[in-house]
């Protein structure tokens, strides 16, 4: 939902500037994978606050449930059992990651979207889908480097985590951050969250996780959902978190400068034809030939 109290930074399929009189603080959600216990309270809180009830599925043999993001499950816990070879020999680790929209500073979904105002980036960094303007083409799915948006089978609209933009607009933390029993999900200004992460990283490093780091990928300009990872050198261990995500060059090509140029070229062909007609005149059958054939016929 559009909320007047949130200032807009970018609007999909819009070529004129967004209202920019006010600057707001950038917010961020910090997910500390090393203190997450996989209880899924955040999944429940997300359902409750957003009033979503996904179909009750069946157990796929692993803890992941539902097994994937859907139009009605905007966040899911992904459980990965990983065997790590280290100096101390093979070690099994259970890596649990809360998956959902990363709220990219440079969102591929918004770049790809052809419907004006269906995707909004607020000045605070939240990327929000406005289903009333969504046309259901699925271009956001094509644009997203994290495979996040889902098109509903019921209404053909795109859905994903809103970072509880409605709560944030009135000074509340997102439902998942509010409910997390271990404090693994925190919310605040992006700067604050980076400070919190620094403290966590110092602690992790002192315990021997010397590759611990903050996941705030610069390929998408940084994100407004960040992870503290104990193995930041190998994000793919966490159920395929992309190593160096960026908007695909194909998407940039598709949505880039080529289209205005193609539009000009089309206008050029149309006008060129008009002026060809005006300057050269029509190509008519010659009078002599017409007379000749008329004689033949009579």
């Amino acid at each position: 939902m559009a909320l007047q109290s949130l200032d807009i930074a970018r609007r999909s399929a819009t070529t004129t500037p967004a209202p920019a009189a006010r600057q707001t603080t950038e917010v961020a959600k910090l997910i500390d994978v090393s203190t997450c216990i996989g209880c899924k309270a955040c999944q429940v809180a997300c359902m409750e606050w957003n009033d979503l009830r996904d179909e009750v599925g069946s157990c796929a043999g692993v803890y992941d449930n539902p097994v994937d993001l859907t139009a009605k499950s905007w966040t899911v816990m992904r459980f990965a059992e990983v065997e790590l070879s280290g100096p101390n020999g093979g070690r099994l680790e259970w890596l649990i990651r809360k998956d959902g929209c990363m709220h990219c500073a440079d969102p591929g979904c918004l770049k790809a979207c052809p419907a004006p105002g269906a995707i909004i980036q607020y000045a605070n960094g939240i990327v929000d889908f406005h289903q009333e303007n969504c046309i259901g083409c699925g271009y956001c799915v094509t644009g997203c480097p994290f495979n996040v948006p889902r098109i509903s089978k019921e209404d053909s609209k795109a859905y994903k985590c809103s970072l509880c933009s409605d709560r944030v607009a009135v000074g509340q933390a997102p439902a998942c951050a509010k409910v997390c029993p271990t404090g693994a999900i925190q919310f605040g200004s992006k700067e604050q969250m980076q400070d919190v992460a620094d403290k966590r990283l110092a602690d992790l490093k002192s315990r021997g996780f010397d590759k611990a780091g903050l996941y705030d990928p610069q390929g998408v300009g940084g994100t407004h959902v960040m992870y503290v990872l104990h193995h930041a050198d190998r994000p793919e261990l966490y159920s395929g978190l992309p190593n160096d995500p960026a908007i695909s060059p194909l998407v940039s090509l598709w949505k880039g400068f080529a289209k205005p140029l193609a539009t000009l070229a089309l206008a050029g062909v149309a006008l060129g034809s008009l002026f060809h007609y005006v300057t050269k005149g029509p190509n008519e059958v010659s009078k002599e030939l017409e007379d000749e054939l008329e004689k033949e016929e009579s």
């Binding site: 399929a13 819009t14 070529t15 052809p114 419907a115 004006p116 046309i135 259901g136 083409c137 699925g138 271009y139 799915v141 094509t142 495979n147 098109i151 053909s156 695909s248 194909l250 998407v251 090509l253 598709w254 080529a258 289209k259 205005p260 193609a262 539009t263 070229a265 089309l266 062909v269 149309a270 034809s273 060809h276 007609y277 050269k280 005149g281 029509p282 190509n283 008519e284 059958v285 010659s286 030939l289 017409e290 000749e292 054939l293 033949e296 016929e297």
Partner: protein
């Protein structure tokens, strides 16, 4: 309908109907497709009852066009095989465009330019149909890398094809006496002798 019994039949009723189905579906496809192509064209979606309807209808129109184009393709394929005479015509196309078509090499039913147009349009159709299926999320779920590739191909080919169709339509307007071939199927003998002399000889048996 024959206006003058001496006129030459260029297209049968079936061929004309086939062509119009392709033409109408192409125009609707171009208008609805452009709506997603760039925000400047988004208002075109209103012609289809809004952008959601444009999104729903576009691929179905695509299927209609692809099937009817396939019929046209097989009807006219044999007539569009390039010959050395076509090559020479193409080498001298500058004179033609300049409006000086009197001593262009003699042409059969189609000239080199028309044949090039035929094959270029056939290629565009193929690319658009295949890439269009890749983009059709309502019914298909291809790997995202393939969809991204399809999006680039679809948008680029659509732009090229719209330009080609501008040229195709303009050529028909520019060469007077041509459009009636698509209305009632006939052309005058003088038209045939001037623009497609070899074809004129073939159908009339005259020199």
């Amino acid at each position: 309908m024959i206006r003058n019994p001496k006129d030459l039949q260029r297209y049968t009723a079936h061929e004309r109907a086939n062509h119009w189905v392709v033409g109408i579906s192409f125009i609707l496809l171009a208008l609805s497709g452009l709506a997603f192509f760039h925000p400047a064209f988004f208002p075109l979606a209103q012609l289809f009852g809004g952008a959601v309807w444009a999104r729903i209808l576009h691929p179905f129109l695509g299927v209609l066009m692809a099937v009817s184009f396939l019929a046209i393709f097989f009807r006219f394929k044999a007539l569009n095989v390039m010959t050395p005479a076509d090559q020479e015509w193409l080498n001298r196309v500058g004179e033609m465009v300049d409006g000086n078509d009197h001593d262009m090499p003699e042409q059969g039913k189609y000239n080199g330019g028309q044949k090039m147009m035929f094959w270029a349009l056939a290629l565009c159709m193929l690319l658009l149909a295949v890439s269009g299926i890749l983009l059709w999320r309502a019914y298909f779920g291809f790997p995202v890398g393939l969809v991204r590739f399809g999006a680039v191909i679809h948008a680029a080919t659509a732009a090229v094809m719209i330009a080609l169709i501008f040229v195709h339509v303009y050529a028909a307007i520019w060469v007077k006496g041509t459009i009636r071939a698509m209305w009632y199927g006939t052309v005058t003998r003088a038209w045939a002798k001037q623009h497609h002399r070899a074809w004129y000889r073939q159908v009339t048996g005259k020199s």
